[in-house]
Symmetry: C2
Subunit: 344 residues, 2 copies
C-alpha cells in the first residue's frame, strides 16, 4: 500500500534523485553503469512514477479529455474507440466523460478536465447554443477540438462530416427510388447535427420537387423511442409520405420498427434512411440505408489538430474546420433506382 518514491530508489542505488529522474524519464546523459544500477533498484522496489507529481512539475499529463453527449449512443462509443486508438499511437491516454446531453453537466466536466491539466480536450457539444460559454471558456485556456457537432459562434478547431452533402446523397437516392414526398424526423434543433442535416435535406428536396409538409418535420431527440413516437404521430395525423428521412440511426431504427408495427412495408410502401452507420443499423429487419461517417479519419484529424495546437504554445494560428465527405450505404430500407412513376 506504501508508494515507492524516487528518493528510495536513489538511496538504494546510491545516487541522487536527479540521476534517478534522468534515467527513468530518459532525459539527459547517464553512464551505462549507473543506469543499470538505477533500473535494478527501481525494479527491486517495484517503483512506479507518480504521474501526479510529474504533472505538477511539467504541467503536462499526456492525457486528453473527451466529452460526449451520451455514452450509450453507439455512434459516440465507436467514435471514442477511434479516438482512443489514435491517441494511443501518440502515447497519450483518454479521460472520457459523459455529459448526458445536459450543458450543465457538460460544463462541469469541461471544468474538471481543465482542472486536471489535460493536454487538450475533444468535445462533441450537447447543445448548439447553451454549450457555448463552457466550450469557449475552455478553449481559451487549452487546446480544444469540437467533433461531429459544434457550437454556434465559437472559434475553435472542428472536425466532422459535411452533413449537407450527405443529405444531398440521401435525398437523391430516395428520389431515384421513386419518392415524391418525404418527412424529416430529427432531434430538436438544439445542436448543429440536426440543423445541418435538416438544411441539406430541405434544400435538395426543394430542388427535386419533393413535397415536405411543414407538419411532417418532427423534432424530438436522438432515441429509438422518439422514432417510434414520431411515426405514430404521422399516422395519426394523416398517414406517411413516400420517405422518412431520419437524423440518426437510433431514430431510424425506431421509425422502421414502428412502420412495420403499424402495417407499413419498408421499403415497399415507405422508404427509411438513417445517419451514422452504427453497427446495429445492418442488423435490423430490413437493414438500414444510412450515411457512413469515417470515424477513424475524424478521430485521426482531431488528434492531429490537438497535437498541433499543443505544440505552438506561443500564438495560435487560425482555427481549422475540417469537413469530411461521408458516404451513403445503401441497404434494404430504401428502393433501388427506378424510372419515376410518371415517366413509365
Amino acid at each position: 500500500m506504501q508508494r515507492v518514491t524516487i528518493a528510495q530508489v536513489a538511496e538504494r542505488a546510491g545516487v541522487s534523485t536527479a540521476t534517478v529522474s534522468r534515467v527513468l524519464s530518459r532525459r539527459g546523459q547517464v553512464s551505462a553503469a549507473v543506469e543499470r544500477k538505477v533500473r535494478r533498484a527501481a525494479d527491486d522496489l517495484g517503483y512506479q512514477v507518480n504521474v501526479i507529481a510529474r504533472a505538477l512539475r511539467n504541467s503536462r499529463t499526456d492525457t486528453v479529455g473527451m466529452v460526449v453527449p451520451s455514452i450509450t449512443n453507439p455512434f459516440f462509443t465507436s467514435l471514442v474507440e477511434s479516438v482512443e486508438h489514435a491517441l494511443g499511437k501518440e502515447g497519450k491516454e483518454l479521460f472520457l466523460c459523459d455529459a448526458r446531453s445536459d450543458p450543465q453537466i457538460e460544463a462541469r466536466r469541461l471544468a474538471s478536465l481543465a482542472a486536471r491539466n489535460v493536454d487538450g480536450i475533444i468535445v462533441s457539444p450537447s447543445h448548439g447554443v447553451d454549450s457555448r460559454p463552457a466550450v469557449q471558456q475552455t478553449a481559451d485556456r487549452l487546446p480544444l477540438v469540437q467533433l461531429d457537432r459544434f457550437v454556434d459562434g465559437t472559434t475553435t478547431d472542428w472536425v466532422g462530416v459535411d452533413d449537407v452533402a450527405a443529405m444531398r446523397q440521401v435525398v437523391d437516392h430516395l428520389h431515384d427510388g421513386g419518392a415524391r414526398s418525404a418527412a424529416f424526423i430529427g432531434s430538436l434543433m438544439t445542436h448543429s447535427s440536426t440543423e445541418q442535416r435538416f438544411a441539406g435535406f430541405r434544400r435538395r428536396a426543394e430542388e427535386l420537387n419533393i413535397e415536405v409538409k411543414p407538419d411532417q418535420v418532427l423534432l424530438g431527440d436522438y432515441s429509438v423511442e422518439w422514432g417510434e413516437a414520431a411515426v405514430a404521430r404521422l399516422i395519426a395525423e394523416g398517414g406517411l409520405p413516400d420517405a422518412l428521412v431520419c437524423a440518426d440511426d437510433l431514430i431510424a431504427l425506431g421509425v422502421t420498427r414502428a412502420c412495420r408495427a403499424h402495417g407499413f412495408a419498408v421499403p415497399r410502401q415507405v422508404q427509411v434512411t438513417g445517419y451514422d452507420d452504427i453497427e446495429f443499423s445492418r442488423l435490423t429487419e430490413p437493414a438500414l440505408t444510412t450515411v457512413h461517417q469515417p470515424r477513424d479519419r475524424i478521430a485521426a484529424e482531431a488528434v492531429r489538430l490537438l497535437a498541433a495546437a499543443g505544440a505552438k504554445d506561443a500564438e495560435r494560428g487560425p482555427h481549422a474546420h475540417i469537413s469530411l465527405v461521408p458516404t451513403l450505404v445503401v441497404r434494404d430500407s430504401t428502393r433501388a433506382a427506378q424510372a419515376p412513376p410518371d415517366r413509365i
Copy 2:
C-alpha cells in the same frame, strides 16, 4: 492561457494563501467577512483549483478508474453509465479505460490508473486467467472491485449476477416451450461469464434431460459476427437443435439473424435466448428473450464497496462477493409455455 493560483487570489484579497485554501476547501474556521473577500477575489480572477496540486498534497483525487473489456459492447456502456451515476452522488468522477479485450492493454491501463492516484478501481477483467497478475497487483495497492466478470484465484471484492441461477431460469423456460435439445453459443472459456453461464446451462439441461451434443457447444467471442458464424456451422454440421442458448445478447442477435437468413423460423422452429438485456435486444425481429442484469444495483454495490475499502485504510476486512439474482425477460424469440409434446 495563464492559470490563476491561490497566491494570486490571496494577494488580491489581502490575506495569506492558507486562508484562501481554508475558504476554498471549506475546512477550518474563517470569519464571514474574510470568506466573502476571498470568494470575491476568486470569482473575479476566475480561479479554479489545480486538482493535480491538490492531489499531490492529499494523495486523494476523488477519481475512480474503470476498465472494461470493450467500450463498444452496449452492456458495458450501460454499466459504465450506471457507475458514473452512482459515483456522481459521492462527488467522484470516473476515469474510463477500454482494454480492447487484451490483458496486456488491460495491465497497462491498470498501472496507469494506479499511477494517477485514483482512489479506487472498478474492473471487469478481460481474461479469466491472463488478467490475474495485473488485477492482483493493482488490488494489493489500492481498493479494487471486480464487476460482472472476475479473475480466477484473486482475492478482491466482486459484484455481479448469479449466472448459474439465471441459466436455470433460461433452460426451464425453454423446456416449458417444448425444447428437448439445445446448443450453447458463447465466447471462449477465457472469462468467468461464459464459464459460469455454461455451467448453469449444462447442469439444468442435464436435470431436465435436454440433449446437448458435445459438438453443439460452440465457443468464439462476444460479437454479432460470431453468432452468425456459429449458426452457419451448426447448419453445415447437421442442423439446429430445438433451442440456441447464447452467452450474451450480441451473439444472440447474430444467431437470430442467421437463423432467419437460413430459413429457420424463430421461435417456431428454433428458440433463441440472449443474456444482458441490452437495449437493442428488444428491437430486433423477433425481440429477444434474455436475462436482465440489474445494472444500477450492481453499480451501486460496487461504489459502496469501494468507498468502504477506501475508508478503513488500516486493515482490510474480508473481501465481499455480492451476487445479485437477475430476471428473465420473456419476449418473442422463445415460445410460451405449453405441455410437452409427449404428454399431449
